[in-house]
């Protein structure tokens, strides 16, 4: 299983995970940094690319599976998580990565996030959060700050943004982190740790949109704004403290692990395997339907 990340005798380099497709992203897009961090994390994880399934929804960032050598599935808008869960349930041995934007994960697909989290499949969900809809050329996203003027909000947004970090903590995610492409080393480390966490792991990446994004969200400002949780002495096993820090979303740019459950509960996939083992071959109703010999007691229901 992927959580154990068995050491492969092979030696991997980032080239093993980089595909030949040229990204459609604008020059300066934060997603370049994200995909590079993913190459690095996968190099450290040492799983061959054919054992990795990388699932995404729709949006600029959802093009990301195609830029890796993993088995990719660029699905429909908002449905990456359910599709990824089906993949993991069908083959728990796979390392499953899910990625998408803030619109994909917290607007159109927002209803799937709590359910994926409460099931706790062993997969990693990476959201490239840029507070804007880039692919459709600059409309409000669910994480856009109140007052933001965009192509679809000429007079400014009248809505509060969602807080992805607080949401997933409240839903019960066992691993919650945030990273920025400006800190490549830190981001690669966070993604690696998320993959290694045995259960649902969530990584919010503040991945700036160079074309439609705010000036103060760009890579060069991230370097000055970011505050590393580790350096601030945050205890990542403290969920309540993590929720307190998460409330700073949109104001303070914390990076690192907000929460890591010190006692990870059983994963969905491990429970599935257990149930399959316990029930395999027992009292199969289909056999009843196919059996030709008479069993006198069998099928005479009575009135009650």
């Amino acid at each position: 299983m992927s959580t154990e990340c068995p050491l492969s005798p092979e030696v991997f380099t980032t080239k093993d995970f980089r595909s030949s497709l040229k990204p459609i992203w604008c020059p300066g897009c934060g997603d370049y940094g994200v995909v590079t961090a993913i190459y690095r994390a996968l190099t450290a994880i040492k799983r061959p690319s054919h054992e990795i399934a990388f699932i995404s929804g729709i949006g600029c960032s959802s093009r990301i599976p195609g830029y890796t050598t993993a088995y990719g599935f660029n699905t429909v808008h908002g449905r990456a998580l359910p599709i990824a869960q089906g993949i993991k349930m069908a083959n728990p041995e796979l390392l499953v990565l899910v990625a998408g934007g803030d619109g994909d994960g917290f607007s159109i697909g927002g209803g799937h996030v709590p359910h994926a989290i409460r099931r706790n499949p062993d997969l990693t969900y990476i959201v490239m959060d840029n507070q804007i809809y880039g692919l459709t050329k600059g409309q409000l996203s669910p994480t856009s700050p109140r007052g933001l003027k965009t192509a679809s909000s000429a007079y400014g947004s009248m809505e509060d943004p969602v807080n992805p970090l607080l949401y997933v903590l409240a839903y019960g995610a066992g691993f919650v982190a945030q990273g920025v492409p400006a800190d490549m080393e830190g981001l690669a480390k966070i993604i690696e740790e998320a993959i290694r966490y045995p259960g649902f792991a969530f990584v919010n990446i503040q991945s700036p949109c160079i074309t439609y994004g705010d000036a103060d969200t760009q890579l060069k400002t991230q370097k000055t704004r970011m505050r590393k949780l580790e350096a601030e002495g945050h205890d990542a096993s403290n969920r309540l403290r993590a929720m307190e820090l998460a409330q700073e979303y949109g104001r303070t740019l914390y990076t690192g692990v907000f929460y890591r459950n010190p006692n990870p509960p059983p994963t969905y996939d491990s429970q599935i395997r257990e149930r399959q083992q316990n029930l395999r071959g027992k009292d199969m109703a289909l056999e009843q339907l196919l059996r030709k010999e008479s069993d006198e007691e069998a099928e005479v229901p009575a009135a009650c």
Partner: protein, 584 residues
């Protein structure tokens, strides 16, 4: 003696009418009869009116039948709520509860009244035999066994089995209730002319099951290893059956947070390399369509069962209708063809489901199975499935040589390209809803898009030659024809038998592949016909319209008998249309 008996019963929720029907069909199965049991309820969760109709015969039963031979009325208000579902005619034997306080001549039915109307003190008999009103349905069973010679030993055996656990006193009370019904029938004889003739097919084992369970069982037989779905009437029992069984076969099941997630997970499982399925009903199908389109363009096998109910929108969740054919055939946007299969009976549901998996795997496409509420939830006596007639198909995988330079969506003569799955070394590719080239890389090229559309559409063509998915019945030289599908096909088939018994030559075509339209098969069927009637349960006549869209020519007179769902189409009504066609 009669060789066909249709019994309708209605009462309020606590009267045990439906369980009496289940007892009867169980006993009929044990005695080697054929039967169909349909149940009908009000929309209440508990209580309210409930009814069932049992058609039992020594010959194969093709449909639930029309006018009742026997009506059992526990109270009139509830009985009348079912209207056309429980039609009473002049020859119907009406048995009703004395306590309703109505004189036989004053029963609230349209004139002329049936000639035999009997008030029976069923409640009083239950109280005196068992000391509880709950035994009332066993009084009813006694009456039916006595008057119509129905499976008395097997009914009694059923009662013993059921109540053995509840203690001697309860068991004896219910046995007495049954006996009191038998006694009453004996003291008020109707004559043996009304007795059901003995069954002839007593050999072998007979089971009572419904379409939803058949579907679940067939999925397991076909090798289904994943189910994703969401509860919805009247499809839920498929998920419940698989929820009990699929684990035993090394599979798994997700009751998802919504319909979209259910089909999404199923598509994911298919991408991961296993046979997978989802099941739903009308509103759920509407929600699932985008993901159906994804499966089509990513060329992933998937079986999607849609148990039709009354629509549009919430419609009538507990009533049958055949109005989802357009939705199934034209589900989702873009240029696609998704095969749509329709079973004609509970027994047929097995083969259709297996075929759906086979077609999905062979052609790498989602396949829709259009069941309906009637097939899904009616009980039918079936023989054990003979699996030797089925072959199982699995998707074409790349050879080791092909994996050395793997091209997932390679253009081939058949349009089918070998498909890998995660875990297969060298098979790595990008699946996508976005248009792609042979390698799977996204493209906006019109030329590639046209070629890919061509590949995805052309690969389905061999399906239209699948003559085994079409049933031809009747006289080859007839100039009068019928076309019917789904559960209504059994009505058309009975009407054909009735017409031929009158010396009218008729031919019937039952398509089980309802989409894509097999132009050549229809052309061949239509060629000798002067008049043809499509019989189906939808207001617009959806199959009729879809045939007209594709058929190169139709018979000079080509009409449809189309009725909205929940309005039964009795064989007699179709027979009347056949007679009219024969006269014209």
């Amino acid at each position: 003696m009669v060789d066909d008996l249709i019994i309708g019963m209605a009462g309020s929720g606590g009267d045990g009418i439906v369980s009496a029907g289940e007892s009867l069909i169980g006993a009929a199965a044990a005695d080697g009869y054929f039967a169909i049991l349909t149940k009908s309820f009000g929309s209440q969760i508990r209580g309210g009116e409930s009814s069932c109709r049992l058609r039992v015969s020594a010959r194969p039963v093709l449909n639930p039948g029309g006018t009742l031979d026997v009506a059992v009325v526990l109270n009139w208000e509830d009985f009348l709520r079912f209207g056309g579902e429980l039609p009473v005619g002049p020859d119907t034997v009406v048995i009703y509860e004395t306590k309703t306080g109505v004189e036989p001549a004053q029963i609230p039915l349209a004139e002329p009244h049936p000639s035999i109307v009997i008030a029976v003190p069923m409640e009083a008999m239950a109280m005196s035999a068992a000391g509880t009103l709950q035994a009332k349905n066993n009084v009813v069973l006694g009456l039916l066994a006595g008057w119509f010679g129905l499976a008395r030993e097997s009914i009694l055996k059923g009662i013993r089995k059921k109540f053995a656990r509840k203690g001697e006193a309860v068991l004896q009370g219910n046995e007495r209730a049954f006996a009191s019904g038998m006694d009453y029938a004996e003291k008020h004889p109707l004559g043996s002319a009304r007795h059901l003739s003995p069954s002839v097919h007593t050999a072998g084992r007979h089971l009572v099951t419904d379409g939803n369970e058949m579907c679940g069982a067939a999925a397991l037989f076909a090798g289904c290893k994943f189910f994703g779905g969401y509860p919805i009437t009247p499809a839920t029992e498929i998920m419940q059956y698989l929820g009990r069984e699929i684990w035993k076969y090394g599979g798994s099941l997700l009751q998802a947070e919504d319909e979209i997630a259910g089909i999404g997970a199923a598509v994911g499982a298919s991408f991961a390399g296993v046979k997978s399925m989802t099941a739903t009903s009308g509103p759920g199908l509407s929600l699932k369509t985008e993901v159906l389109g994804l499966a089509s363009v990513a060329e992933l096998p998937l079986v999607c069962v849609n148990v039709q109910r009354g629509g549009p929108s919430t419609g009538m969740p507990t009533k049958p209708e055949q109005a989802d054919l357009f939705a199934a055939a034209f589900s989702a946007h873009g240029d696609t063809v998704r095969p749509v299969l329709a079973p004609v009976s509970v027994a047929d549901m097995f083969g259709i489901t297996v075929d759906a998996f086979n077609i999905a795997e062979e052609f790498q496409t989602p396949v829709l199975v259009l069941s309906d509420q009637e097939i899904a939830q009616r009980k039918e006596i079936v023989s054990p499935v003979d699996t030797s007639t089925f072959k199982l198909v699995t998707r074409l995988e790349p050879t080791p040589q092909q994996l050395e330079n793997y091209v997932r969506f390679r253009f081939t003569e058949s349009g089918i390209s070998p498909i890998s799955h995660p875990g297969m070394k060298g098979g790595n590719y990008l699946a996508a809803g976005i248009e792609h080239n042979e390698l799977g890389a996204p493209t906006a090229s019109g030329e590639i898009h046209a070629r890919m559309n061509d590949k995805r559409l052309k690969k389905m063509d061999p399906l239209k030659q699948r003559r085994d998915l079409f049933v031809f019945e009747g006289d080859v030289d007839a100039t009068i024809g019928l076309v019917s599908w789904g559960s209504i096909a059994g009505v058309a088939l009975e009407a054909l038998h009735l017409a031929r018994a009158e010396g009218i030559k008729v031919r019937l075509l039952i398509p089980k592949l309802v989409y894509p339209v097999a132009e050549e098969i229809y052309a061949e069927f239509f060629a000798p016909l002067q008049r043809c009637l499509v019989v189906e349960q939808s207001h617009q006549g959806q199959l009729y319209r879809i045939i007209r869209m594709w058929a190169s020519s139709v018979p000079p007179q080509f009409d449809v008998l189309a009725k909205s769902g929940a309005n039964p189409i009795p064989p007699e009504e179709v027979l009347a249309k056949i007679r009219a066609m024969a006269r014209s």
